[in-house]
Amino acid sequence: SKSSRSLTGGIADIFTKRKLDDDTLQDLEDILIQADLGVDTAMRITEKVAAGRYDKEVSPEEVKSVLAEEVSAVLSPLATPLAVDEAHKPFVILTVGVNGSGKTTTIGKLAAQFSREGRSVMLAAGDTFRAAAVEQLKVWGERTGVPVVSRETGADASGLAFDALKQAREERRDVLIIDTAGRLQNKSDLMAELQKIVRVLKKQDETAPHAVLLVLDATTGQNAMNQVDIFQQTAGVTGLVMTKLDGTARGGILVAIADRFGLPIHAIGVGEGVDDLQPFEADAFARAIAGLE
């Protein structure tokens, strides 16, 4: 893509037969900042790159791969696919995030993936607020051949979630994925609504929800830190999905998030199609940030 090309160019220009001095390190830090790592994380990674190499001649390739290694070292321990624990029937996945981050689309992709694995899936149209949110999920249900439990727009979301779980249990479904309306984390009334959904699910199965996925948009900058912080506190986020990595945004905030929250990163979205969900691979992600592809 455009930005990774310019990053590659940038690094090559900077490091052609140069010493790894302060100026060079500043340039390196800038490259990380432009990938949305944030100042602190960019500085920390840059320091690691410098350790033991300061004032030495370095080739651009070497710097790039060291950079990628350092980023990957932060992310690797967290790269874990979303595992369906078969002890729970259904395994309940609650999907949360700010408006437009890609929740509903990700649910469609996950439904396809689980169905392919031979699991019987059910979806719950828990976004009872946004215009045509229910219809949108129903289209995904049709696409993937998965039933969708829904109520009319304006209905109570937690009531819908309760009914969906009941139905999924009765039908002995393997997986139930619950969609929710997008909400900004600073809206306490909306966050309380999310807590209510969790509470209501626990009435039927105190271990539910078994996974709470926070869907993050790769184009988001430093605010993603607040998103993780507050969604984790209120909804008990258990893992992350990052969408829209098919654009030029590098999603580097994930490195800062990994550093601070240590939440598993399950998958990435790389398009709007049903197959555009990939497992999160720390190395590939880190190499893109370092401009190695």
């Binding site: 949305d36 045509a132 988001t220």
Partner: protein, 307 residues
């Protein structure tokens, strides 16, 4: 979560005993902190650089007024330069053209185009007493056309009837015809979200633009956008041509640096702010408010108190 710029700058200036004019070395030290604050507010690095150069030039040699500290002085200069760069005067969406006036909405996936289309249509109807027609050209996202239709019903604004299987170019032609025949003042074209690097879809936007000849083409962008804001704004402006920017999700707690990034690289005005999911969540852009947010609460409060 963030230390305010004020705190950091006072830390720097604490070590300086001299008052009077700001020296070049004082300013350089201060600019490192300003740089950091702007990056934390999501201003894109290339924009941070040119912005800092401007501020540095203005700050060096500046007399520090008695009532404020050197740190507050620097913040005042940063604030004023922010307001100036963001565009001091609000520029409304312009409807002064031969009806039906076409307005095209473009942007990345999920940025808020459809919601903003309905918000604007409601405003034109209620405040400007215009007869508005909305059309969804989004044949890709599931239920996108349905979404606009429902929002139209909520707003009491007409939407072009949905014809399944029609492509965006044909919908555009039908919308323009319907607007002309129906005596509409304004026709709003809500397009599908697309990546600025998606050649095929960007070409489609150009085709729609050439047919509709929009009086305004509004780039709808998320206020929570990070460093990528410059790439997005520049590409949409270069490829499709943008007449203004609408920033959505300003009701969030993001610092909104994308506003400065987009304005700086395109020179195009930020016209409106989306401040909620409901149809009344639309406000006129006020640079001062956005500047305050980029700077952070703590800084603005002290600035207002002292200056």
């Amino acid at each position: 979560m963030f230390e305010t710029l004020q705190d950091r700058l006072s830390g720097i200036f604490e070590t300086l005993t001299k008052r009077g004019a700001l020296s070049e070395s004082d300013v350089n030290a201060a600019m490192r902190e300003v740089r950091r604050a702007l990056i934390e507010a999501d201003v894109a690095l290339e924009v941070v650089r040119s912005f800092i150069d401007k501020v540095r030039e203005r700050a060096v040699g500046k007399e520090v007024i008695r009532s404020v500290t050197p740190g507050q002085m620097v913040i005042k200069i940063v604030h004023d330069t922010l307001v100036e760069t963001l565009g001091a005067e609000p520029e409304p969406v312009d409807l002064q053209a031969v009806p039906p006036v076409a307005i095209m909405m473009v942007g990345l996936q999920g940025s808020g185009k459809t919601t903003t289309t309905a918000k604007l249509a409601l405003r034109f109807t209620q405040e400007d007493k215009k007869k508005v027609l909305m059309a969804s050209l989004d044949t890709r996202r599931p239920a996108a056309q349905e979404q606009l239709k429902i929002l139209g019903e909520q707003a009491g604004v007409d939407t072009l009837p949905i014809v399944p299987g029609e492509d965006p170019v044909r919908i555009t032609r039908r919308a323009l015809d319907a607007a002309r025949l129906g005596g509409y003042d304004v026709v709003m074209l809500d397009t599908a979200g697309r990546l600025h690097v998606d050649e095929e879809l960007m070409r489609e936007s150009v085709e729609v633009r050439d047919i509709a000849k929009p009086h305004e083409t509004l780039l709808v962008a998320d206020a929570l956008t990070g460093q990528d804001a410059v790439n997005v704004a520049r590409s949409f402006d270069e490829r499709v041509g943008v007449s203004g920017i609408v920033l959505t999700r300003v009701d969030g707690d993001g610092r909104g640096g994308a506003a400065l990034s987009m304005r700086a690289v395109t020179g195009k005005p930020i016209k409106l702010l989306g401040t909620g999911e409901k149809l009344d969540g639309l406000e006129i852009f006020h640079p001062d408010r956005v500047a305050n947010r980029i700077l952070g609460k703590g800084d603005v409060v002290s600035l207002v108190e002292k200056a």
